[in-house]
Amino acid sequence: MTEKRTSENHQYKLVRCRINGAERETMVDVRASLTDMLRNDYSLTSVKKGCEVGECGACNVLIDGECFNSCIYLAVWADGKDILTLEGLMGPDGKLSDIQQAFIDEAAVQCGFCTPGVIMSAVEILENAEKTGREYTRGELRKLLSGHLCRCTGYENILNAVEKTMKKRLAKKAGK
């Protein structure tokens, strides 16, 4: 483990990981959460600080394909992991992904604070649906999205956006 201590006796560790497709490395204070690292060291401000105790999902990111609340995940644990944040969904030409566009079309965004976290959960859900060819029911989608609090939308439009994108992707897959 590459480690050092600063004059204030803070403990640091070198964390190497892949973030949104690029290999990155930086020295991280062991007291930092993954939210701290993504926001402060990599300026990935889609990762929001909401409750910071794992209740609201505003800080949700994908790690090796699964959703985690980055506020209760130590930054040093990210060593060797593959991390995806909302910024990583953008196409090379700056285009929005289908699920982001669906959130706009369905008016599933109001203040937008919860949105990046919810969309990252949607990404995991949609990938699982595509992988297994399984169309989730509305009830199942509710359960899969239950780790997010939204103070604005009342959730209906969020569910509509995820459901419609799922159906589109499954139809596209079946068409091929």
Partner: protein
């Protein structure tokens, strides 16, 4: 930033034990969904941590040669639910841990952490009690295995010696073979909530499915630690599978449980739902074991969804 004085990352089980011996005041952190939240609340200011998070050797479910199901202590709830061996042999455990917190919590939360907290409301604990799980602990003196009911000492206190870590949870073949079970969590919300009461039951029926050969009834939040309803179990063993038996077993549960008043629910309410959940979980367990319960009762039991 978390108020952490020092973090020691274990590279192996042996290394974790060494670190815990070197730093006797250090606390173990596994997935962190409890420990980190407590640090945020200021409860463990300036804590030293030994992280076992990276010990992949403690992840996953295996079937050992003698048929024992071995669950690595760091296996996450979502991986337990998805695991083919769990689905085949003790699916009810997968269903129970699928009711913990929300999806992100189920990806980080570990079954070892859930049991080492010593919390009565842990969704995994009552089901593990119901399956007679054995806890495997590894420490400086080697490995010890103890029944889960002996692992829980009192609220918040488990039998984990200094410098010891929980490395696995074992379910022996004789504990699961021929049994079918059901878990019901009663909580105010469907997600991100802690159980007001949890009831996990499994049964073994006679070959003709007419008699209870064995019944195991376990509760969370019906007492300071998870518990078995031993009187109710003994009462029901050998009796015919019928609505009458199920109703009476539920009535007997009050001899075993000792719930308390809390802001979540009163003692009287918990006593009431202990009985009702027992009857409902038992009815479903019987159905899953291939038995039938007369319609009058399944109607009564299956009525209003909890």
């Amino acid at each position: 930033m978390y108020d952490i004085k020092a973090l020691y990352e274990a590279q192996s089980v042996a290394d974790a034990i060494r670190l815990l011996r070197e730093h006797p005041r250090a606390q173990i952190i596994a997935g962190g969904s409890d420990v980190l939240v407590q640090i945020r609340e200021g409860k463990r200011a300036g804590v030293e941590l030994v992280s076992i998070f990276s010990l992949d050797e403690l992840r996953g479910v295996n079937l050992e040669e003698d048929g024992t199901l071995r669950i690595g202590s760091l296996t996450s709830f979502s991986h337990i639910t998805k695991d083919p061996l769990i689905q085949k042999y003790i699916n009810v455990l997968g269903e129970a841990v699928d009711q913990v917190g929300g999806p992100q919590i189920r990806n980080i939360g570990t079954i070892g952490g859930n049991t080492c907290n010593g919390v009565t409301s842990a969704d995994s604990a009552s089901t593990l009690f119901a399956w007679d799980a054995v806890i495997e602990l590894t420490g400086p003196e080697g490995v010890r295995k103890i029944p889960i009911k002996d692992f829980y000492i009192r609220a918040g206190k488990v039998d984990l010696h200094p410098s010891e870590i929980q490395t696995g949870i074992l379910i022996r073949r004789e504990s699961y073979e021929g049994y079918a079970g059901h878990y019901i969590k009663y909580a105010m919300r469907n997600a991100m909530d802690i159980a007001t009461l949890g009831c996990s039951i499994n049964v073994k029926l006679s070959d003709d499915k007419k008699k209870f050969v064995d019944i195991r009834i376990a509760y969370g939040v019906a007492g300071p630690v998870p518990m078995r309803a031993v009187h109710a179990e003994a009462y029901g063993k050998g009796l015919p599978v019928s609505g009458e038996t199920i109703r009476k077993i539920g009535d007997t549960v009050s001899e075993d449980i000792m719930p308390r008043d809390s802001w979540r629910a009163s003692r009287a309410f918990r006593e009431h739902i202990s009985k009702v959940l027992c009857q409902r979980a038992l009815t479903e367990a019987v159905r899953r074991a291939g038995g039938t319960v007369p319609d009058d009762l399944s109607g009564e039991m299956g009525g209003a969804a909890l």
